[in-house]
Every structure is written in C-alpha cells, then in structure tokens.
Amino acid sequence: MTTTLSTIDTPLHPAVDGVSLPEFLAEEDLPSREGPRVIQFREALREAMSEEMRRDKRIFLMGEEVAQYSGAYKVSQGMLEEFGEKRIVDSPISENGFAGLAVGAAMYGLRPIIEFMSWSFSLVAADQILNNVPKMLYMSGGQWGCPVVFRGNDGAGGQLGSTHSWCVEALYSNVPGLKMAIPSCPYDAKGLLKTAIRDPDPVFFLESERMLGDKAHVPEEEYYIPFGRAARLREGDACTIVSFGRPVNFCLEAWDELAKEGIECDVLDMRTIRPLDIGAVVRSVQKTGRVVVVDQSWPFGSVASEVVTQVCEKAFDWLDHQPLRVNSDDVPAPYAKGLEQAFLPHKGKIVAAVKRAVG
C-alpha cells in the first residue's frame, strides 16, 4: 500500500470544520472606547455570546445555573428566553462531566461555551481541560481539534478563602495547545469573548466576580479584538507596567498616584497571555529601561515570571534595573479581610515597586 503525503497549505489547520475568522481591525480603527452606551461587564459578556449564538447555531452554553436561574452571576440573564433550553443548558454540579461532554461535542462539530461558576471549580475537571482539551489536535495527529470556550470567574472574589479564590492563569497557561484571554474592562470583555468564540482553538476565558458589575461604554456594533495584541492604556517614559485582568485597574490607580509625583509610566494591558504580546513589552522597555509586572497569581512559576524571563531574553541590553514583579503573596488565599487585603496585589504595592525600579 502506498500513502500519499501532502502538507497542509492553508493558514488554518483543517481539523476543525466551518471556521470563519472575523476581520480584525487595527486598534485605531476599532469603535471608540468612549461613548454613552454604559453597560456592565456581565452585559458585555452576554452581548458577545448572544451575537455569536445568533450567527452560529452550533454554539451552545452549558453550566451550573446558567438557564433557569439566569446565571449564578447573571451573566446569561435572558439567554434562555431567547435561545431556548436546548442551547442554554443547566447542568448539575458535575464539572468533570460537562467539561468532558464539551470535548466530545466539540470533536463532533459543535461549539460549546462552558461556564464555570468559578475557575476554582474547574480543578475537579482538570483531566478534561488540561489533558484532553489542549492536546486533542496533537494526540489525534491533526484529526480533531477542540474548539471550546471555557469561561468563568477567576481570582479572589472577596473573602472566599483558599479553595474559592484560585487564579488559574499561571497554572493553566503552562499547557501548550490552549489560548488564554483575561479582559480587564467591559469593552475588551466583549471584543475578546467574540474572538474567543470564533477561534478554532480552545480558549480559557478568565473573568472576575469583582469586575462583573464594572460599567463602561461598550459599542453596540460588532467588533473583535485580536488575540496577542496588548493595549497601551497610559503612556510614560519612567517605567513599563505590564498587567492583565483585574489588576490592570490597580495599575491605573497606581499610575494616577505616580503621575502626581511626576513619574509617568507605560501601562500595558496584555489582554491575552497566550498568545503574549511580548513585542509590545519589549518596545516599551526599550524606551523606559524598566519593567514591573503585576500578576495576581503566586510568584513561583507565574505569568509574571514568564514575562520577566522573556524580557531578559529579548531586551536584556535595554534594562537599567532588574525586572520586578508584583504577585499575590506566596500563601493560600486567606479568609480574614485584613489578611486578604495584604495578600493581593494593590495600588500601594505597585507604586512601591515602580519607585524601586526608577529609584
């Protein structure tokens, strides 16, 4: 028997059918971030899912309390009414079961969105989401991909203690085969989630309970934010501050305080950490010579460690101070309010790190 071997010559791997990537615009061509249409972060997420579900009938949403209860955090409110119970599906408390179900359904040709009430609970589904999801394309030798979006709350939700306050970004982003998006504001939440749903690879989408009520202008029109493109939210020459997700907001608070003392920094919101826009970091460091990475995961083997490593590998000669990182303290998340506040990254820690870097 002879086998003819040919090489894949399309940009997208043929293992996932029916992919149509959206058109991605340059940052300056995206709809304005400013405007009157002020909605909550959770509504931005809902809009992203609903718009995509209207476009593509293969998409369904499954998770605990997503349908009849309108979502434990009301992200999916109203979606049951619009899409019906076949597409907005309540599940029992069986994360390993429904995460694995999503794998099978995706291989068969559907486009599942799986809501974890909290990423903390995804740990009981670790085998499916880490062992199967990101490796399917590889271990099937390119026969099946696994286009699933897993989304839910990540990070401290406010005195939830050590089992419920997981920041999974460091742990999970270690695994090749998945993509990871971590928005910091409603505008990006919508644009990134729409991209996540259209992407043919598995996407881990990390939200924060503490941000779901945040309000900002979100355009009504459709827009897609490409993965792997950081946003520069503030400009300055003193130092580069790199962050993603909720701590970006603390970096902006720190910026205001530092600016009062004449210390102006670049603030880069990475938006996705796999892919990671290291080019944007390097370009900024070439200007500032200093970098502080703010990351709410634990320091050991964290996303911050990765950014710092890549900066050292790619911009070593431009550094005027060793890179610094601000992480959560290296202990399990405590319950008591005072302990939790001391544990998490916050404005004060960021200000202190930047001052050390520029000092």
Partner: protein, 365 residues
Amino acid sequence: MTTMTTASAKGAKRLSDSLPSEVLVGWLRDMMLIREFELRTMAAYQQARIGGFCHVYIGQEATAVGTIACVEAGDPVVTAYRDHGHALARGMSAEACMAEMFGKLTGCAKGKGGSMHMFDRPNHLYGGHGIVGAQTPMGAGLAFGHRYEWEVLKTGKKRLTLCYLGDGALNQGALHEAMNLAGLYSLPVIYIVENNGYSMGTSIERGTTMAHDLRAKAAAYGIDSIQIDGMDVREIYDRFKPFADDLRERQRPGFVDLKTYRYQGHSMSDPQKYRTKEEVAKYQERDSINRLAHHLLNEKKTLSERDWERMQEEIKEQVRVAMKFAEESPDPDPATELFADVYVNPQPNLSPTAEYRHGVKNPLM
C-alpha cells in the same frame, strides 16, 4: 437493651423513648442554639461583619443534631460548607465558630478559613469543605484510617465516620469514586445526604437521576441505605442509631437519604425564585424544633413551660456572648499570620518572595 422509660403518649414505643429525658432536652437545646446562632449570623452578614460565602443551616438543625447523637465523641465527622450546625452539634463553642466568621484570630481556623471551613480537631470535626463533593473521598479516607488503626495497628477500636453531603454533591464524580472505594474496601463511613431538595436554584429532580429513590445510587456500590424524615430528630435517632450501630459492628459503609429543608436562601445572596413561599411554609409547619418542644412539653411533659422559657433565654444569652467575643477578639496580624501555617517545616528558599514562619497556636489545640 431495655426500653422501659416513659412510654410515648401515643403508645407505640420508639427507641428514643428509652433515652433519659435530659438527652432529648439536650437535643432541643442544641437545635435551638444552632437556630439562634444562625439568625445572628445572618444579621452579622447583613452588617458586613461577616464576609465571603455564608450558608446557614436554619431548617436542617435536626439532621446534624440527630445523627451526631448516634455516634461516639471520638468518631470522625466531615462535611461540606454548610457547616456551622455540624460544628456546634459536635461541640465547638459558639465563640470559636462566630469568631471564625468574623475573621478573628480566636476563630477555629484563626480567621483563615471563614464560614465554609469549620475545623475542630479536639472534637474530631475534619472540616467543612467548600468544593462540592470534596469531603466525600476524605470520608472514605478517615474510615480507612480508623479501620487500619483497629485492624493493623491494633491500637484503636471499631469507629465510624460520618460524612455529610448536599444533594447537589450526588452529581460529583468524587462521591461515586469514594462510594465504590468504600464498598470495595469495606470502609466504615456513612454518607449522609442532607437532601434539602435544592442545590442552589436547581431542584433535585432537575439535577440528578433517580431523585425519587436515591438509595439506588448506593445499591450500585453494594452499600446499605435508608431514607429518613430529617425534620424529626426523634425519627432520625430511631432509624439512624440501629443503622449506625450495625455498620460500626460490621465495619461496612452506609448511605442515608435524609429528607430535610433549608428555610433560607442557598447563600446570603439568593432571590429564591425557584420555589414558592407556600413550599417553605409547608416545611416550617413541620419544624423540627417546634415538634420536639411540643413533644417534651405536651406529650412527655418532661419539660415545663418555665424551663422552656429559661432555656430560650439562656441560648439567646449564650449567642450574645459569642457575638461579643467575636467582635472584641483581635484580627490576625498580616505581619505574623499571613505567612504562618503554610508549612510544618518552613525551610529557607521555599518561595521567591515569602519567608514562612510559625504564628500563634490554634486556640482549639
């Protein structure tokens, strides 16, 4: 065993009728304490003196009190996050329990655990656990431990572990692996399903198969099971005590479908649109505390109106004292406590940023 004490007014003799009346009065007191404690917990939560996720036990008091009354003080107990009732029934002081929720250093977990993590080593309470189902393999492990101690080390006796779970936890894989292990290794653990009919907003029928007969789940693992009305503490004792004694003797696992009800929302933020007020009222009519009080006051006449009133006052005072204690207790100091209790043997270079140390000794130890 003789069952000759005050016969029940209705004639038919029940196992709990053979108990000295102080025991039943003790159950009443324990259930009342939990109720009062939880009412104050809710008020404190609303005033933001308690944070995080907080799940109260009101309505379910009979389940912890009745089942814990059937085992020995040294038998392990492990449960989920709705755990204040188990902690109090097991003997934790209201002070330590409330102080924990206030995030104080005098709490049972030094303020590090909160409402979902009641641990009490002297009282053999191996925790409240926040991840649904997480405690169920631990229950098997505790039973493995004391069976091993008895059989291999020959230092222990025949013990029995009580492992509580909500009906929602029936749908976690962990429980099924644990029940299979328990059946296979013959582990003396009783899985007590506190079947309050809902996991958050999902009624049991919408969440699990065979909801009308959960015993089918145990049957699949060769585990003996019973179903009990969890709104009647005497009924719990009557049915659970012989069941537990037999399993202890035979060192076998068990499974109990304990039908109960929570009067409050799932947690402190639950609009409860998934059930009607009438449904809640229907269960409140069968309230376990009222029922036992009625029995002792009117049927058995072993409790006088005066003692009953005095008991209620004493309990209110006991919880008031606990609130005051919690309020006045010191906060854990981040400088000394944040990096404490992480390692038993805190060597250098375990962390790029932290230096681990020992903090204060747990007040319960």
